[in-house]
């Protein structure tokens, strides 16, 4: 058992990390709790379209006359939950593939990696477009698309990390003891590649949000009258001259969210001090251990 007192994680002690964390908490709060505070309904108009901010509508109305503020408060929820579910699924699948490929090496590895290479031959958005064209613009399709896009990169990363770790002494000692593959993966390999996974998860989470929001923007994701930041940016272009907030408000929310996620991920990478760069690099000052 580990009896460690709680410490503030290293990444949160940097300026950018702390800023990112604060921003992320703020925006996520809006995204997840916003719907509870919306003053008006998101579907019914409350005034003429494209009205500038007023007392009744602090952010004005959108191209159909609906309250922008309420729609902004509702607009983050889908993108965040879909992004989370998709990234988590992608991670689960990708880690499994990567761990097994990296651990078994000569057996299943080449096959899995060929498959991964093929998936990597597609630009991300194209995959989503193809799926939607085949299966229609439904939420499960979006999730599947994001998973397919993220999975190869995750598998590659985890595979490299696993390969590197499995040559370490403690892993070989466990293998020599005859421990099962699951035991070795779980007790020795996974905990030691966790920092790499965490950093990567953060970046990919941000990317998933971008993908989903982009699909929504194109009108090939969530359908109107859903309130979604990406969709709002697209549909309010016609009234951008009348009420700039109809586009800028959701844009700012989305921007802050993605920036925050990236700040955290970057601070984490910088402070965790571990990266899977080629090992065995001698320094001019090779000091043997005392």
């Amino acid at each position: 058992m580990r009896h460690r007192t709680f410490r503030i994680p290293a990444f949160a002690q940097t300026t950018s990390g702390a800023t990112g964390l604060a921003l992320a908490v703020l925006i996520l709060a809006v995204a997840l709790l916003g719907p509870l505070f919306a003053p008006h309904s998101i579907a019914t108009p409350i005034g003429p379209p494209g009205q500038p901010p007023s007392a009744a509508a602090p952010l004005g109305t959108d191209f159909l006359g609906r309250d922008v503020l309420s729609r902004v408060l509702h607009g983050g929820f889908s993108v965040v939950w879909i992004g989370t579910v998709a990234t988590t699924l992608a991670y689960a699948a990708g880690s499994a593939v990567g761990l097994i490929a990296g651990y078994t090496r000569n057996l299943i590895d080449p096959i899995l990696m060929r498959a991964v290479d093929v998936l990597l031959a597609f630009p991300a958005l194209l995959v989503l477009l193809l799926l939607v064209s085949g299966l229609g613009p439904h939420i499960p399709v979006l999730i599947l698309g994001v998973v397919l896009v993220q999975l190869p990169g995750i598998a590659r990363l985890i595979r490299t990390a696993t390969l590197e770790t499995s040559t370490r002494g403690y892993v070989e000692a466990a293998v020599a003891r005859g421990e099962s593959m699951m035991s070795v993966l779980g007790r020795d390999i996974a905990p030691n590649i966790a920092p790499v996974m965490l950093a990567d998860f953060g970046i990919r989470f941000g990317y998933s949000i971008i993908l989903v929001a982009s699909m929504n923007y194109l009108g090939l994701g969530l359908a109107p009258p859903t309130a979604d930041w990406g969709l709002m940016i697209s549909e309010n272009r016609s009234v951008i001259g009348l009420n700039i907030w109809s586009v800028v408000a959701p844009a700012i929310m989305l921007a802050l969210l993605t920036i925050a996620v990236n700040l955290i991920a970057d601070a984490y990478v910088r402070t965790s001090g571990r990266s899977f760069t080629p090992r065995g690099r001698a320094r001019i000052l090779r000091q043997t251990d005392g």
Partner: protein, 347 residues
């Protein structure tokens, strides 16, 4: 201790001996051949996935394409036109053969309307327009990425570096459509300087309205330069930490020479890989950026094709994009092999 015999060093490690040699002595040519073959194989598999993705769906392709105009006779006619009554694999092979030889077929949506429009006719102009956009962007972002990345790496940890890194991080975090929209807000809505959507009509080249290129290129540059410069920075920092850079300093070489001939020369290969990655990213970015500005390129074409469920057009565009993607990979790999002496001689 010590022997009287003249010094004889152990055997030099020979380059890996291959079981059979392709193209005689030059290992690089062999590598290119292998790489291209692998790329083609990947493309074929990818094309199958594309084909399957657009064709296989719950429900009936023909009905969905026809939409509200679906009457039994029309459905049957369209099915015959689209060869939907044959099994999947032979259909795929025929399609593959046609596509590979340049016969891109006819638009499914047009067929549904009763007219015959070749896909090539629909896409060849947008393809050209997108290439213009892409080439201009690449010509700008490659030097910019390298310059910013190297500058940040050389001043790593200091203020210039922090400024560049943080800006890059924030800008790179933003989705393209967001950047594009914000640029429209700034340059059109507020400043009234540039057009918000592309005024290019079919028949014109992008160069008849150069103004219209500015914002799309800026949008594409934003994310790619941001990401790219951070990656170049990271790999350059790694090279700067290498032993041979420290050794060059210990040998008393002037710092300028150390940076150029020792550090940057060896940071070229990873930078090439970064640029290739960014070019691939660009291909995806073009799709959405063109939509923001209504630029008549391949991106808007494919989005439209998907919206109206034009299976043939979607599939063809997807294959072309995948081919470009794979080609970029191959070119980058070959350039890296040429740049790194160790790979060149042992590949």
């Amino acid at each position: 201790m010590g022997t009287a015999a003249p010094p004889v060093d152990p055997v030099i490690p020979t380059a890996r001996r291959r079981r059979f040699r392709v193209f005689g002595r030059n290992p690089v040519v062999g590598f290119i051949v292998r790489r291209v073959t692998a790329g083609l194989a990947t493309l074929v598999v990818a094309s199958f996935l594309i084909f399957a993705a657009v064709q296989v769906l719950p429900g009936d392709v023909a009905s969905i394409v026809l939409g509200r105009n679906a009457t039994p006779s029309r459905v049957a006619a369209l099915q015959a036109d689209l060869h939907l009554n044959r099994p999947l694999i032979p259909r795929y092979l025929v399609w593959l053969g046609n596509t590979a030889t340049g016969h891109f077929g006819d638009s499914s949506a047009a067929l549904a309307q009763g007219s015959k429009v070749s896909v090539w006719q629909i896409i060849h102009t947008p393809l050209r327009n997108s290439l213009v956009l892409a080439v201009i962007t690449i010509l700008i972002f490659v030097p910019l990425c390298l310059a910013l990345g190297v500058a940040a790496a050389l001043r790593a940890g200091r203020r210039t570096d922090h400024a560049i890194s943080l800006t890059a991080l924030s800008l790179g975090a933003l989705p393209e459509f967001l950047v594009g929209t914000l640029l429209i807000v700034i340059f059109f809505t507020q400043l009234k300087l540039l057009p918000p959507i592309s005024p290019i009509t079919p028949g014109e080249t992008p160069f008849t309205h150069p103004n219209a290129l500015v914002l799309p290129v800026l949008t594409l540059l934003c994310a790619s330069v941001a990401f790219g410069s951070r990656l170049v920075r990271a790999s350059t920092i790694e090279v700067l930490r290498e032993d041979y850079v420290a050794m060059a300093r210990l040998n008393g070489y002037p710092e300028r020479r150390v940076i150029l001939r020792y550090a940057l020369r060896n940071a070229l290969a990873p930078s090439v890989q970064v640029c290739a990655q960014m070019v691939q990213y660009l291909i995806g970015g073009i799709i959405i950026t063109e939509s923001v500005f209504n630029y008549p390129g391949i991106g808007t074409a494919v989005v439209q094709a998907v919206s109206i469920r034009d299976t043939q057009e979607t599939a063809v565009i997807a294959v072309i994009l995948a081919a470009i993607y794979i080609l970029v990979n191959i070119v980058a790999d070959v350039v890296v092999v040429l740049l790194v002496p160790k790979l060149r001689t042992q590949v």
